[in-house]
């Protein structure tokens, strides 16, 4: 089957697909990259409380260019607004929220996710001298649910969904769901369960691009 028979989602498409599954009322932290874009696809009339590591609770959309508040940024250090009902806390309180189980959801990018829910998203190898961990480890262990949004494969075509991660771990057994440009998959005791695929894609084709074994629930 040729690629032309299905159209992988672009970054906005992945973000949009993820945003669809976030219900009103959840407290959500969005990581840097595609995750940050998820907020753009949550309708503004659906009240979702976005938390940023730097102590902003109730992050709103980007300001109009002439309304930028220089003191108000999110964890990606881009200027944002504050929703009515939002507030500010300091870094230790902000991470108390993240680590203490008060986030209904955290959405992170990743290099790899393993079928047992392990996530690798902070370093490409143990020997890499320069590392950037940020808040990923805190968020990964602390949120009630961790979802990952990422490309299904690397640029070289290697699967990012794996039996075991090959990159250094961020946390073990924490990922609940993965949104890729090809599919939505839950991490289950049996491994990756395909919930949804882009139109035109079959489980066989998806499996061919995925190192970890996949399964689908039979329709009853």
């Amino acid at each position: 089957m040729a690629d032309s028979e299905f159209l992988p989602l672009d970054r906005n498409g992945i973000a949009d697909r993820c945003a669809r599954d976030i219900p009103e009322g959840w407290v959500v932290n969005l990581g840097i990259g595609i995750p940050t874009q998820v907020a753009d696809f949550v309708p503004t009339d659906r009240e979702v409380i976005f938390h940023a590591e730097n102590g902003v609770i109730g992050v709103g959309p980007a300001p109009a260019p002439d309304k930028v508040n220089p003191f108000l940024i999110n964890a990606s250090t881009t200027h944002v607004t504050l929703r009515p009902g939002g507030c500010f806390v300091h870094h230790a309180d902000s991470f108390a929220i993240a680590r203490g189980g008060h986030l209904d959801l955290c959405v992170l990018g990743a290099f790899e996710v393993a079928q047992n829910g392990d996530i690798a998203n902070w370093a490409r190898s143990a020997d890499e001298p320069v590392k950037q961990v940020g808040g990923a480890m805190d968020l990964a262990i602390g949120a009630k649910r961790l979802w990952v949004v990422m490309e299904h494969t690397t640029k070289e075509g290697h699967s990012r969904l794996r039996q075991r991660c090959t990159y250094p771990l961020t946390a073990k057994s924490v990922v609940k769901r993965v949104y890729t440009n090809l599919a939505v998959l839950d991490v289950t005791p049996r491994g990756f369960m395909v919930l949804d695929m882009i139109p035109g894609l079959t489980l066989e084709v998806l499996q061919a691009r995925t190192e970890a074994p996949l399964y689908m629930e039979e329709l009853r």
Binding site: G85, C87, F88, A96, A98, G100, H102
Partner: protein, 219 residues
């Protein structure tokens, strides 16, 4: 629309189970959520563990809860020998765990902050450390303490909005914000209500993230 306001005491107390650990805000007579305590008495849950700074004055709602035999264990800093809690303890009808006040606050903060244990010099050289794990850190004997989470917290606030953002009046703040973050189900009563956004963002003391239900109790 997020709306954490509930409109009756029954709704506020719904689902509190027998055997729950209930965190009770307040210090002295200030910041005690007495109407919620009365609601808990009415609701009927028993075999409770209550966490509260002191064992309840004569005539207080805590004393009433104790007198109805609804409390199995009390975790607190003070029990007066002459109080009902003191008498129940001496008769062996109440289990009491005495915790230094700072350790009590810190253990609840730990529960809210995802800290799974911490070391403190407080109490390490005392009776309270008997049979417990200690460790010398930086030349100082320290005691290992574990988080103190609640199934439920009953909180008194001064002002609240529908997201559950809370402010407190002067020293009525005390344990309330700490308990709010430490419980699975945080139920706040508030004297006043504000429209969303009406509480200045910098003035919010307890973010609504920590609050599940808000009951307006004017006066």
């Amino acid at each position: 629309m997020i709306d954490k306001f509930v409109h009756s005491m029954t709704e506020a107390m719904a689902g509190i189970e027998d055997g729950s650990t209930v965190l009770l805000g307040g210090f002295g007579d200030v910041g005690i959520p007495t109407p919620l305590l009365n609601g808990l008495i009415e609701q009927g849950a028993r075999d409770l563990t209550i966490v509260v700074v002191a064992g309840g004055r004569d005539g207080s709602a805590i004393e009433r809860l104790l007198s109805l035999g609804r409390v199995r264990k009390m975790i607190c800093s003070f029990v007066r020998p002459a109080s009902l809690a003191g008498r129940l303890l001496q008769r062996g009808e109440l289990e009491v765990e005495i915790v230094p006040q700072g350790t009590m606050a810190e253990r609840m903060r730990a529960a809210g902050a995802g800290i799974t244990g911490f070391y403190t010099p407080t109490g390490a050289d005392t009776l309270l450390a008997e049979g417990r794990e200690t460790r010398e850190i930086g030349g100082r004997l320290c005691l290992l303490e574990y988080p103190l989470p609640g199934d439920v917290a009953l909180i008194e606030a001064w002002c609240a909005d529908r997201w559950g953002n809370l402010t407190f009046r002067e020293s009525a703040r005390n344990f309330n914000p700490v308990m709010a973050m430490a419980a699975t189900l945080t139920i706040a009563m508030t004297r006043n209500i504000a429209a969303l956004g009406e509480i200045t963002p910098d003035a919010v003391v307890t973010p609504g993230i920590f609050v599940d239900r808000v009951l307006h109790v004017p006066g």
